[in-house]
């Protein structure tokens, strides 16, 4: 058996280092593509050898790293991480193809950073030790900071700083929570360990309610800010908008906030001082994000900014589904992460392509693009339709699961979210209609359609959205066992 989990980090990292030293654009893009293909190959290997019928950790490796503090380099893959690794591994090769023909400065750094990012994100998904987890978690900041700041839009400096410092502070608060968890467990058991599953299990034996809630909230804050959830989202619109297309897509693939929710916060939740209140809080934040994001998206003039707020709105389903605390609502939340990654990739690619062709992203300045850019319009349609939740596409599956099954425990919040569905359909269709259809805006001059590589990349992702929308089981099956394991933990405590 290959040590897949480690290789999934190492392979992109090694390719990244090599890519940094290339001189020509072709070589950089080629090596980047090769590296991401190798990662995809490894991921498919892991997927084919993955046993969906168990919630247990697979491909587990553990090596002692800092014995003094009980830190181990331990990694593994289970149903929570596998879909997200798959998402990253699938999208990144096509992301590289999508940017292949773009003119850019320092392509070696660009592709090197994309692969570094991939290694860091996968590192978070496979880490089973808090220190390893935190290291990769923080490492994701660095490539994005550079990507936004070097290749981003006009206000890139502001956006990248805000993102870097905002999420760094949130991570530090999370680190405080991790320390609290570690030392309280050390006090109780006398064993120093940073093992995630061990510490999460230990949490139920903690005595003081105040300490419990403090630790839980500190860690949760790190996840919610990264997710992001209203009201910790203010870095998102700027960062998503100012990032270059590839950067926006990488932000979308950065599903570590939601992942932390499933891996760490949900199993801890039933053992907090006041679980009911925590569930209410999560439900409220989730449904409010859905509604708020949709409302703000409705009045955006900038296409990319609209997509950014739509992303905030859709990530609300992850929080809401988590708070639903029924196996299927949690699975829905996990599926939303996967589906959202695919759909938003298409949407950001569309927005990027429109900007490259026309030089603007302001919706009112566009119009009738469908005539000039038919290929893009088709791909974009799929993305927009999936995003507004059209049945048969992945977005529908996720939202359906979340809304239906969260209703059991949180009927009020679900109603709030249902309200947003109408608005969501509204802003998507309205934007589509104004930008792509109607009379062609002659001021735009002669615009060209996306190139064949871009068509290919977007088509593949669009087909996946369709495929998993019609047949979600290959992905959903991986999640179910783990969702049930989480929910049975909650049931055991009797929330």
């Amino acid at each position: 058996m290959l040590p897949v989990a480690s290789l999934l980090i190492l392979v992109p990292l090694i390719f990244a280092v090599v890519t940094f030293f290339t001189k020509t654009k072709e070589l950089a893009a080629g090596l980047g593509f090769l590296g991401s293909l190798a990662t995809l190959g490894l991921t498919l290997y892991a997927y084919l050898n993955f046993d969906s019928s168990t919630a247990a950790m697979q491909f587990y490796e553990s090596v002692s790293w800092i014995p003094f503090l009980g830190v181990n380099y331990s990694v593994g893959i289970d149903g929570i991480s596998m879909p997200l690794i798959l998402l990253n591994a699938i999208v990144i090769p096509f992301l590289i193809l999508f940017t292949w023909k773009e003119d850019m400065e320092a392509p070696n750094r660009f592709y090197g950073l994309i692969l570094t990012m991939q290694a860091a994100v996968i590192g978070v998904f496979v880490a089973l030790d808090f220190v390893v987890f935190y290291i990769f978690w923080e490492l994701t900041l660095v490539p994005l900071f550079f990507i936004v700041n070097i290749w981003g839009g006009e206000k890139r400096a502001h956006a990248s700083y805000k993102f870097f410092i905002y999420t760094h502070v949130a991570s530090l608060v999370m680190l405080l929570g991790i320390f609290g968890l570690f030392y309280t467990a050390l006090q109780q058991t006398g064993v120093a360990t940073f093992d995630i599953r061990e510490l999460v299990a230990q949490f139920q034996f903690f005595e003081s309610g105040l300490v419990r809630d403090g630790i839980f909230l500190a860690i949760l804050f790190g996840f919610l800010a990264k997710l992001p959830t209203f009201p910790f989202h203010s870095w998102l619109p700027d960062a998503y908008t100012e990032a270059p297309t590839a950067g926006s897509v990488l932000f979308i693939l950065l599903k570590i906030g939601g992942y932390g929710l499933f891996r760490i916060s949900l199993p801890m939740l039933p053992n907090t001082g006041n679980p009911d209140m925590m569930i209410m809080m999560l439900g409220l934040l989730g449904s409010f994000s859905i509604l708020y994001g949709a409302l703000v998206a409705l009045r955006q003039r900038d296409l990319k900014r609209m997509i950014a707020y739509s992303s905030l709105s859709h990530m609300g389903y992850v929080t809401l589904g988590s708070a639903g605390l029924v196996a299927l609502s949690v699975s829905g939340a996990m599926f939303q992460q996967f589906s959202h990654g695919l759909i938003m990739s298409i949407m950001f690619m569309s927005a990027g392509a429109i900007q490259t062709s026309t030089g603007t992203r302001i919706i009112n300045e566009l119009g009738g693009l469908a005539k000039k850019m038919p290929m893009l319009t088709v791909a974009m349609m799929v993305g927009f339709m999936a995003s507004l939740g059209l049945p048969g596409l992945t977005g529908f599956i996720a939202e359906f699961l979340v809304l239906t099954f969260s209703f059991v425990n949180l009927p009020g919040f679900v109603l709030l979210a249902l309200l947003a569905i109408v608005i969501t359909a509204g802003y998507h269709l309205w934007a589509m209609q104004r930008a792509m259809f109607g009379v062609y805006n002659e001021k735009l001059g002669d615009v060209r359609d996306i190139n064949s590589l871009q068509v290919f990349s977007m088509a593949v992702i669009a087909l996946l959205v369709l495929y998993f929308g019609l047949n979600p089981s290959p992905v959903l099956n991986m999640m179910i066992e783990n969702s049930e394991a989480i929910v049975s933990l909650v049931a055991a405590v009797g929330v």
Binding site: W65, I66, P67, F68, L69, V131, Y134, I135, E138, L139, L141, V142, F145, F146, N149, I150, R156, A157, Y161, F164, I165, H168, V169, L172, V173, L175, L176, F179, G180, F182, Y183, L186
Partner: protein, 489 residues
């Protein structure tokens, strides 16, 4: 004779210093460059002997160590760890100086001073006697005073050196004053004997006076606020390689001296100084970070960031658990690599600006000189990025690991408020570190591509290797630091 063996690293160092000084007399100006290599070799040899001494120590009783020369010197894990810190800094500095002293008429003096300063620091690390400690402290200080003013034609350098010298002399007097009080109260200058008679200090008002005076004395070298006034001017004015020695090396001498005097000798008065250090730590880290944000001179910014870092290390005195002390000790090594490396990177930029003779020569290390450094000097920019991210505590670097151990132990000790302040500070520091990265990578370059001179490049790579080794493979460093901490508790 056996006792001499334990001083082999120091002897090699002094011998190298003397050889360098003598050889300088006979060598022609063109061939003086060889002295830099000679000094580097001497430091390397001394380092190998120091590492070797760890094995000697583990054969015996490691924690207790060996008291030699009538118990005036203590060879233990703490002393050897700090000797490694000093030697690491000296190595980086001496390698980089090969470029700096290229056209100097005083090459031999420069290296001899660096070697003697390092020797003084190493003796401070071992000192088990207040008088010896003071003498070694002054040996190191005098050598660094001279080094700080090495550029006699440069008014800024002279001003910095003058401030350093005057404040340094006053603080030395205060320190001596404090030490005399300790002697007066206990009747001995031996640190281990003072520690054995806590009764003489507890409840004795003389002890409190001594604490105040000693804090001022050591606080100067550690550059803790409010004893830091000299540091920004001196670090900025000194030749960058000397700034590296001061910030990364001689600052640590202040820490190890304070460890020996406060934690071992004055352990009985711990309740009196513990809270004071907590306060000093908070004030120092906050002041350093806040002021660093406003700096446009990179060396000055590094100086204030160095204050902030000293504030973090001072937390070890406030927390006083074995893990916290270990974390503080580990932090000194991490900081040595990060800060020395950052100053050497600044040295490379200053050299570049000077060799082009354009731009604002008055402040050659102005942020503007770093514009587009990623394109102009890719290696220096990359190394600088590693150093500043390490200083900010981004993994996987030495800075992250050291902060990790130190901050987490603060929480363990129940001083969550202190950890929160430190963490907020750490977040604030990211702001000005990231700004430097912005200048290097996001702004267009103003000038041609320049290749980093070999000595600077070599020194930078040594420092980067140290920073990454501690971040990726921290176990041996944590273990050594913890063993060193066991000497203190």
């Amino acid at each position: 004779m056996d006792e001499i063996m334990y001083l082999a690293p120091e002897i090699v160092l002094v011998a190298t210093g003397l050889v360098v000084l003598l050889a300088g007399v006979f060598l022609s100006p063109q061939s003086k460059n060889v002295l830099g290599y000679l000094a580097t070799l001497g430091i390397l040899a001394s380092g190998i002997l120091t590492v070797n001494s760890f094995e000697l120590l583990t054969m015996g009783s490691f924690q207790v160590g060996y008291a030699i020369f009538s118990e005036t010197l203590s060879i233990d894990a703490l002393s050897q760890f700090f000797k490694l810190v000093f030697l690491a800094v000296a190595l980086i500095v001496s390698i980089a100086s090969i470029k700096y002293t290229e056209n100097s008429d005083h090459t031999e003096e420069f290296y001899t001073l660096v070697l003697f300063a390092t020797f003084g620091m190493m003796i401070v690390a071992s000192a088990n006697d207040l008088i010896l400690l003071f003498c070694a402290f002054e040996l190191a200080s005098l050598a660094t005073f001279a080094l700080a003013g090495f550029e006699k034609q440069n008014a800024r350098s002279l001003e910095g050196a003058m401030k350093y010298f005057i404040i340094g002399s006053v603080s030395a007097a205060l320190m001596l004053f404090g030490l005399s009080f300790v002697y007066g109260a206990t009747g001995t200058t031996s640190i281990s004997l003072i520690a054995k008679n806590p009764g003489l200090l507890i409840g004795n008002p003389i002890g409190l006076v001594a604490i105040v005076l000693l804090t001022a004395g050591f606080g100067f070298k550690m550059a803790l606020v409010p004893f830091h006034m000299w540091a920004p001017d001196t670090y900025q004015g000194s030749p960058s390689v000397v700034s590296a020695l001061l910030a990364a090396g001689s600052k640590k001498m202040g820490f190890v001296a304070a460890f020996r005097v406060f934690i071992i000798a004055l352990a009985a008065l711990q309740p009196d100084w513990q809270f004071m250090f907590a306060l000093l730590a908070v004030v120092t880290m906050t002041f350093g970070n806040v002021v660093a944000v406003a700096q446009t001179s990179v060396k000055r910014m590094l100086a204030y960031s160095s204050l902030a870092q000293a504030g973090y290390i001072a937390m070890a005195f406030a927390v006083m658990t074995p893990v916290a002390l270990g974390g503080g000790i580990m932090y000194t090594l991490a900081h040595a690599f990060m800060k020395a490396g950052a100053f050497i990177a600044a040295a490379a930029v200053v050299w570049m600006v000077a060799s082009e003779k354009k731009g604002n020569l008055d402040i050659p290390d102005h942020l503007d000189s770093f514009r587009g450094l990623g394109k102009r000097m890719p290696l220096a920019a990359l190394c600088m990025t590693v150093f500043v991210f390490a200083l900010a505590g981004i993994p996987p670097t030495a800075g992250f690991m050291a902060k990790f151990v130190l901050f987490s132990s603060t929480i363990q000790a129940g001083m969550t408020w202190l950890a929160v302040i430190a963490i907020l500070n750490s977040a604030l520091s990211l702001f000005y570190y990231a700004r430097l990265v912005k200048y290097m990578y996001f702004l267009p370059p103003e000038g041609e591509k320049v290749s980093v001179p070999f000595p600077y490049a070599a020194a930078l790579l040594v420092a980067v290797a140290g920073v990454l080794a501690m971040g990726l493979w921290p176990e041996p460093f944590v273990e050594l630091a913890m063993k060193a901490a066991m000497v203190l508790v």
